[in-house]
Amino acid sequence: MNRTGRDVPYLKPVPDSPAQAGGEQDSVAQRRAEEAFIIDVDGYEGPLDLLLTLARTQKVDLMKISVLNLAEQYLKFVDQARKLRIELAADYLVMAAWLAFLKSRLLLPPDPEADGPSAEDMAAHLAFQLERLDAMRQAAARLMARDRLGIDRFRRGAPETVARKRRTEWRAGLIDLMRAYARLRTKDEFRPYAFDRKDIYTMEQALDRLRNMIGYAGDWTGISDFLPEGWGGQDARGRSATAATFAASLELARQGQLEIRQTETFAPISFRRRPSSDQS
């Protein structure tokens, strides 16, 4: 495949088998290789990129690549990195482990028991991935080589501004109109419900009052004596205060602070403070 500018494999400076001529020369060569290697590792955009570069050294069409050879090349690269004590990123090692696994499966006769993709499928998919990445790189190069705006083609240098006028359009539908009318015509049928706070004696109020008063009620005292000034009548206020005070008395009885007595059905209800001897 026709490649632009990347014909020199990154790996080239790293000799497959470092010349073991010995002596000082050896250490110099070693250091050089090491340096070159470090630069190269940084140059790769991940394991797939490294594989693609290695694949190119096979000088065959990517679709005819020997995945087995490729796996060996890759593993050799990783081995080299280990020898040079270069830390490879985790995904390079993951790829290495996977390629080692793939290699072993490609070499062994297929296991009829094994489920999942065959080794050949996996190899084919790897080749596909490499070809696709290569294709995308070529596409990117072709894209960047197009006649680009601001480089090869130019827009109007002094565009004329378009004045904007605003006009308001009112939005109302027939349904809004009918609904508004319906709302008006039915307004008198219902009176808005307002919770009339001034005739309500709340249980919180009753509880506060009862707590304060019960300390003085050593003897049975009728519920009406606990009602606040002006709340003792037979009207709604009286009913509200009585109900709230009774509810409050139940709460205090539950807490063991007072006792409740009713001699018979509908007889007046009386409270007294619970004798302290029982309180433990």
């Binding site: 500018g5 904007r164 006028k165 605003r166 109109l177 009318y181 008006l184």
Partner: protein, 230 residues
């Protein structure tokens, strides 16, 4: 691969620089002036054109040919100070305006007033206020009149000869009605479920209707909030 530096068209560039080449043809020079004027942010003078066009070009002549070619077109070459630039033809300047239409919702007060006029026309302002239970802000009626949905009708032949309000043809058009009589009646509104779905703000009905107090607090509308709901 990521090489972004674009080489200029080397042939053309050579042509441009090299005096040994003959100058481009006049039609090509016209094209060049056309492109330079188009892309320039400022008007370009003949001297600047001379600097930019290939050696041996005659920008003055190319320019006058270009001006001739653009006569009567939608854009023309105008002289501005020492320079030249493309400008929209004078008679087409109106194209350089766009109208943006902003949609707004009518306020509740306006919708209600409009509904009353539509259902009760011809109707006086006092009658509208009686039905709405609140006074009608002058601005509400003015706005409806300005929108051409409402107009003044005949004066009522009653003491004070109050003005009446009626809906317009534009109103009928907007709401897709043949006439105001096509508006559905109360029974139909109820059948359509419009009367049952009580507006949330009215709250729950009180079980005992022991009240002879007025249904609503008599509140005058805040004129500022009158028209615009949002």
């Amino acid at each position: 691969m990521t090489d972004d530096t674009h080489t200029t068209d080397s042939d053309a560039a050579d042509l441009a620089r090299n005096a040994d080449f003959p100058p481009p043809s006049m039609p090509d020079q016209v094209r060049m002036v056309e492109a330079v004027l188009f892309a320039a942010a400022q008007p370009i003078s003949v001297a600047e054109l001379k600097d930019r066009l290939p050696v041996g070009s005659d920008p003055a002549e190319a320019l006058s040919e270009l001006r001739r070619q653009y006569e009567g077109r939608g854009v023309v070459v105008e002289r501005i100070g020492d320079g030249y630039a493309f400008r929209t033809a004078v008679d087409l300047r109106f194209l350089m305006q766009t109208e943006t239409i902003e949609q707004r919702r009518l306020s509740r007060a306006a919708v209600e007033t409009l509904a009353i006029i539509a259902y009760h026309q011809p109707v006086t302002r006092a009658e509208i206020e009686e039905i709405r239970g609140v006074s009608v802000n002058r601005g509400t009626l003015d706005q409806l009149i300005e929108m051409e949905w409402v107009r003044m009708g005949r004066r009522r032949m009653t003491p004070g000869r109050p003005a009446t309000f009626v809906v317009t043809e534009a109103f009928l058009d907007h709401f897709g009605l043949e006439s105001a009589r096509d508006l559905p009646g109360l029974a139909e509104l109820r059948a359509a479920g419009l009367l049952e779905s009580r507006p949330a703000e009215d709250g729950l009905p009180k079980p005992e209707s022991d009240s002879d107090d007025p249904p609503d607090a008599e509140v005058d509308e805040d004129p500022a909030e009158d028209f615009f709901e949002d």
